[in-house]
């Protein structure tokens, strides 16, 4: 019985030690609940990079000033493996065990929703940088918005409307086909919202096809879509699926343009998709062409540090950290309730993804979206959609 006891005690010691470590100078600990392993590690990696960049910026300038004292920011990043139960466990751990002042993340809606439940019940502020599912900030039983959970981006409802309006009014399209990942939270929601909104504006959805996460072969679905003769194909997929679909579609002789969601906005998509995506449109949180000096500086700093251009995840994480720090600064004290109140009252925050402001009682920010087009190997801005 010695061997098992040894292993068990080692495990306990490790568990205990993991909670220790108190730094000497005044520090504010912020939690980052992200997907570093599992099915979307690039989501977590980008998010962490963006967040870390902001934290480093603040720390290099001497720290965050709260009520006259300068604090260093410590970012505790924890991996939720893109799984709902792990995301919940990490949220618990960050809030109760590691006593973070605020939590940023998770990104994917499937993880953000359970984490949001926990943050709300433990009354710790959570900012979901990327989750567009309306349910993340909603209290399911009462139907009212949550108090402690905020969002750093627009919701799927707004996005679907923006895209449907653009397709009907600007592109003058009346027939659209949709292909989406049935097993994935966000694309599923976006696909269905787009369908209802597009039909509400008088369009017709000619084909509604699905695949499941991890699939690579869409030839069967695309053949069906081609047969239904749409004018555009709505593809609310993550940027690693889109190039495959585009390529297979082009190979089958489907020449219509594609329409995408905010999940497309990683510059990787151009590298992976190439010519097949030329002429396609998508809805995004921001455009590098907006030209705010803050945004330009961010892009330069990110590229210099991490060797590749930032994607929407990095930018949104950067802004979420910015929102967090701004709320702490204006709260003037390190108290979760005070920080929450300060965040809900921020009149205007200029982030790299655009202008934010929160209306009292609404945890979803008032933000505009832009429609971008993939042209000449890069994203070019086409239109702005305001709420």
């Amino acid at each position: 019985m010695k061997f098992p006891t040894l292993i068990f005690s080692l495990a306990c010691i490790a568990a205990g030690l993991s909670g220790c470590g108190r730094p000497s100078e005044p520090t504010i600990r912020l939690g980052l609940n992200v997907e570093l392993s599992g099915e979307m590690p690039s989501v977590g990696a980008s998010s962490k990079n963006g967040a870390q960049l902001y934290v480093d910026k603040i720390n290099e300038a001497g720290g965050l000033e709260v009520g006259g004292v300068k604090y260093k920011i410590e970012l505790a990043s924890r991996d939720n493996g893109a799984k709902a139960d792990q995301a919940a466990a990490i949220a618990q751990r960050l809030i109760s065990q590691e006593n973070v002042l605020m939590m940023i993340g998770p990104n994917s809606s499937a993880c953000a929703i359970p984490a949001a439940e926990i943050a709300e019940s433990l009354q710790c502020v959570m900012i979901a940088p990327w989750s567009t599912n309306p349910k993340t900030t909603q209290n399911v039983t009462t139907g009212k918005p949550k108090e402690y959970v905020f969002r750093g981006c627009f919701t799927d409802v707004f996005q679907a409307e923006a895209l449907a309006k653009f397709a009907r009014n600007d592109l003058k399209i009346s027939r659209a086909a949709i292909l989406y990942d049935v097993a994935s939270e966000a694309p599923n929601g976006q696909a269905n919202l787009f369908k209802t909104t597009f039909e509400r504006f008088g369009g017709k959805v000619t084909a509604l096809e699905t695949y499941t996460t991890g699939d690579r072969d869409f030839s069967a679905q695309l053949t069906k879509i081609r047969a239904s003769e749409p004018e555009v194909l709505f593809l609310p997929a993550y940027y690693n699926d889109v190039p495959l679909v585009a390529q297979q579609a082009r190979r089958q002789g489907i020449t219509i343009p594609f329409l995408g969601s905010d999940a497309w906005s990683s510059p990787e998509i151009i590298k992976l998709g190439g010519q097949d995506l030329a002429g396609s449109y998508f809805c995004n949180h921001y455009s590098t062409e907006i030209g705010l000096p803050e945004a330009k500086a961010f892009v330069e700093a990110y590229t210099a540090k991490f060797g590749q251009a930032p994607n929407d995840l990095a930018a949104l994480a950067y802004d979420s950290l910015g929102l967090a720090c701004e709320s702490i600064r204006s709260a003037r004290k390190l108290d979760r309730k005070a920080v929450r109140d300060a965040l809900s009252k921020i009149p205007k925050y200029e982030g790299v993804t655009g202008l934010f402001h929160f209306d009292e009682g609404n945890p979803d920010p008032v933000k505009s979206a832009c429609i971008l087009q993939i042209k000449d190997g890069k994203f070019s801005w086409v239109a702005n959609v305001n709420p």
């Binding site: 690039s42 695949y211 030839s219 069967a220 679905q221 069906k224 190039p243 495959l244 190979r251 089958q252």
Partner: protein, 291 residues
Amino acid sequence: MEYFAQQFINAVQLGSIYALIALGYAMVYGVLSMINFAHGDVFMLGAFACLLLTRWVTPPFPVVLVAAMGATAIVGILIERLAYRPLRGAPKASAIITALSCGLVIQNTTLSLSPYPQPMPAILANTTHQVAGVSISSIQIEIIVISIGLMVGLDLLIRRTFFGISMRAISFDHTSVPLMGVPVNRIISLTFAIGAALGGAAGLLYGLAYPVVGATMGMLVGWKAFVAAVVGGIGNIRGAVLGGFILGLVEIMSVAVLPSTYRDLIAYSLLLVILIFKPYGLLGSAPNQKV
């Protein structure tokens, strides 16, 4: 009509890749009666080997294919030596768990080193041909041809060479074979090497067909190919090929005819039904049990 012809071509292409992977499973099961769960990740390594090879230079396609197969063969031998050989006497389930752990280690190491999906370089030119209203791409044709070529090669190897005969002998009765002068350990290593090489080739071809590779691509495809191998009759080389094509056909055709959300449901239910009626697979036979 064209619609179904198009879908049929899609099915053959997908099926040939599944068949190549299923072969690796069948070979290892044949000699060791063990399911090599690390095979799916060896498949993934084939695609990544190609990425590594083409990072700085662009060698011609045959060179890349041979190099990728060689690299994965070495990985296969390593896995066999480090993880399976010590467990030859242990209960089979433990060996399976070891295989599973090996696979997870490979997958997650690759994931940690490269979390972002990578584009596959286009080392094979891709042109689309229109034949009687059906679009076929040159890559599809090349994949089908190469897969069939490898399968035929394997069949010849099994039936005409000393190695092949030894392999079949070991799968038939592994206790008396060493007494006949057959170097069992070497044959087993070679079996793993060839199985892994086929898996690596499949990975490379898969990467060419669907040019975005990520470290998790091995897991799901690996399990599916395993199911295909079992449906065909595990341990049976021809069964594995048959199973692979059936799976490809079922997956594509269920989407062709029914709403695509039901694809997994249909495919797996059908496989379940096949197994209920033919519990040892289509080409397999009930093993003789001695009491």
